[in-house]
Amino acid sequence: MENIISVQHVTKKYKEVIAVNDVSFEVRKGEIFGFLGPNGAGKSTTIKMLTTLLLPTEGKLSLAGHDVIKEQHAARKIFGIVFQDPSLDGDLTAFENMQLHAVLYKLDKRMAASRTEELMKLVELWDRKNSLVKTFSGGMKRRLEIARGLLHHPQILFLDEPTLGLDAQTRNLLWNYIQQLNEREGMTIFFTTHYLGEAEAVAHRIALIDHGKIVAAGTSEELKQQTGTDNLEKAYLELTGTSVRDETLSGADSKKEAMRRFMTKR
């Protein structure tokens, strides 16, 4: 099978920290790929580099053969992304958020309209299409983001901790959609999660990153065999140790975090 994501010798250095250190891996077309690791291991940094939000210090990343640095626009058309934190405009309605996305991706108006309806029905938000997004719960926002991320028929869907903070029902529902999409449309899924059970259940292949380096990669069966354990959680702890990590936030993120605390206090 051909590779749709290719990461070769990628390094990302901040002033004093090396967030990602000479990482290489490939994701095959049509695969559900789990990217796991402790907090601060370099998962989000890798996703940001793959999705053109950050420039790598060294190395090469490509999506469906397009270099993400040299062919930024072409690469951007290939993926949809659901970020860890919401990226919707709360002062717009759900429908307006979808509409805006359609224009940003230069979709044909009529096609976008029918696809919007189809997707919003799929995530069960069609009857709330004219509500302002700020009135939505966390789970509704996440569902809307997934619908939006799929609007332009991406070949790859990036999901950065898509089920974080969601109840078991919503988590179950989301993974069902995602698996359906993967099976029906052959969409490649690249996700991160801290719920190892989820990864074990849905991922075709898994890569484990720790301290900015890939420490293991393979199917969940292979990882279990490699470590002589009987579930992925044990294999994960075997490979990454049991000590708790302090997350070092990148410059921009730490300021955002401070701001978020400042805003919520008021």
Binding site: H101, K255, F262
Partner: protein
């Protein structure tokens, strides 16, 4: 084109939905206009300079635009905080488009506020010199608003938190405003102030509006236009440059 339009439309919708904020932002300049206009009117007249109310209207219209526009970049900070900016940054559109869509939205809002204040001034007896002048002044309102919104967006793109943004803009807005001839004529002020006022782009915007609305000019309309154009180009370029350097 479509992308710029939808990003502009987004700002218009948000503005329309902001409710009370729309009204509140007009109150401060209105207080300046009424309190200072009527407060200093008789002294100004005794000094043989005519009506202070006539004189101050271009100044407060510019003030409304300045205050609305220079804090525009706060919206960029909010878009960073609430994540929406990322949606535009990963989309296959150029950063110039993203910047321009938002900036045109901000400039439109600034100009609307300026025009609303202008109409309120008309109710209070302000009478413009002629109709062509009114249209000319609107042209300068657009230039001023776009220049200030660009500048502010650039700052918004540079910093990630609201306190830094507010510190930077507050630091600038007060001297810009008070050392611009918005409230007083520039011809008989001390030399140092005159020098400062003459390097302050806001002075030229106000002078242009005063020239077109009440036919009183200090620098001359052509100079005003050239300085404003230059300012707009520089600040727009600054903003585009800062936008291309945003990393999430």
């Amino acid at each position: 084109m479509n992308t710029i339009y939808i990003l502009w439309l987004r700002q218009m919708k948000k503005y329309r939905r902001s409710g009370l904020r729309m009204v509140l932002s007009i109150i401060q300049p209105l207080v300046y206009f009424l309190a200072l206009g009527y407060g200093f009117n008789s002294i100004f007249q005794q000094a043989g300079r005519g009506s202070y109310i006539q004189f101050i209207v271009p100044g407060v219209v510019a003030q409304t635009i300045l205050f609305t526009s220079i804090f525009w970049g706060a919206n960029i900070i909010f878009d960073k905080q609430f994540g929406f900016l990322k949606e535009t940054l990963v989309a296959p559109v150029s950063r110039i488009t993203v910047m321009l869509g938002g900036a045109l939205g901000g400039a439109t809002i600034g100009v609307i506020q300026g025009i609303v204040l202008f109409f309120i001034a008309l109710i209070f007896g302000f009478h413009p010199y002629n109709l062509a002048g009114v249209f000319t002044s609107v042209g300068f309102m657009i230039m001023l608003s776009l220049a200030m919104v660009s500048f502010s967006s650039g700052i918004g793109a540079m910093v990630n938190d609201m306190p830094s943004f507010m510190a930077a803009t507050n630091f600038l807005v007060v001297p810009l405003f008070f050392l611009s001839g918005s409230m007083y004529p520039l011809d008989n002020i001390p030399g140092v102030m005159k020098v400062i006022a003459s390097v302050n782009p806001l002075s030229y915007a106000i002078d242009a509006m005063r020239s077109s609305l009440i036919n009183q000019s200090h620098f001359g309309l052509t100079t005003d236009f050239l300085v404003m154009s230059g300012t707009l180009v520089v600040l727009f370029a600054f903003s585009v440059f800062r936008f291309t350097r945003i990393e999430a």
